[in-house]
């Protein structure tokens, strides 16, 4: 049980590194508002992980516009969802 709990906690911590949480600093860096960024992060972690493990947002800095354009149809994102995800990853790609 302890090992299972440790794995679950490690998973949660790892998620925050792969997809940085929406903070006031992140919102200030973005072109969207907090709710749009939170929505984008939620879509990134749910619909984008239906087929593959979550990719590290900071690790692909500079490449996100092209990646989102390629992946949005595969994830069946609406135009609004695609904008929200793009706003989030552009804000989070340089997060520490």
């Amino acid at each position: 049980m302890l090992a299972l709990g440790a794995c679950l906690l490690a998973g949660c911590a790892n998620l925050a590194t792969l997809a940085p949480p929406v903070t006031p600093a992140l919102v200030a860096r973005s072109h969207g508002d907090a709710s749009m960024l939170a929505s984008g992060r939620g879509i990134y972690l749910t619909q984008c992980t239906a087929c593959h493990a979550p990719e590290s947002v900071p690790a692909h800095a500079g490449k996100w516009p092209g990646l989102i354009r390629e992946m949005a149809p595969k994830s069946r994102l609406t135009a609004a969802e695609e904008r929200a995800v793009l706003a989030y990853v552009l804000a989070a790609e340089h997060a520490q």
Binding site: L8, G11, L15, L45, T49, A50, C51, A53, S75, R76
Partner: protein, 252 residues
Amino acid sequence: MKHTKFAIVSLLSLLSLAASAIAGERHFANVYETTTAAKGEFEFENWVTWKTRRGEGDNSNLWKFRHEIEYGITDRLQLGVYLANWTLTRDATHRNTTRYESAAAELIYRMSHPTTDALGSALYLEIEGGHDLFALEGKLLLQKNIGRFVFAWNGVIEAEWSGRGMMERTGTLEQTFGVSYQITPKVSVGGELVHEVSFEDWSKSGPNVLFAGPNVSWRFKRGYITAATLFQCTRATGEPDIQTRVIFGIHF
């Protein structure tokens, strides 16, 4: 011979359909995951299962086929319709027999997400009917995605009425477990376990049967192919020694 040709042509047609169309994702062949089709999305899945027994006077091969269409009613609720479940059996005398078995419908409701929640969970209900066959099956699906790993567990309870007048009653308790590791965004490998025990007339317990083996899944454009080979780890007679399942799916 006519039945064998029909089965081969049908299988090749389905394979060519899968190769020319675009498709989905599944990490396991014998374990359900908690993720469901997106709202409004259709998925066409084809299952081919080969089971074989090797023993004194019992060298038999059974091929089972299932063809399913899944539809995302909402982002959490998925409907599946198994258009046809059928079998091709080759007995020890190399005689082939093809038989239509049943059709079925299933509902899967996702309660929590395996990535963003502490534990992903879903409820599964299936109703199946055919010639001299009626079955109800319920499952609890649990899943957790951690980094490149996917862990999934299913707890299954099934009740089946079969035979003339539906007088034969069988209950089955089953649990399945799978682990998958993503090598690349398109390829995952892992292993699966299946543990089951049947109850004749819901009272006489049969032997515990355990299967285990490796799996591999490959995701491409809008489709996927997932395969697993399981070996019986117990010595239950009447159960297959080896079973291999291949599932190929298409999203549209």
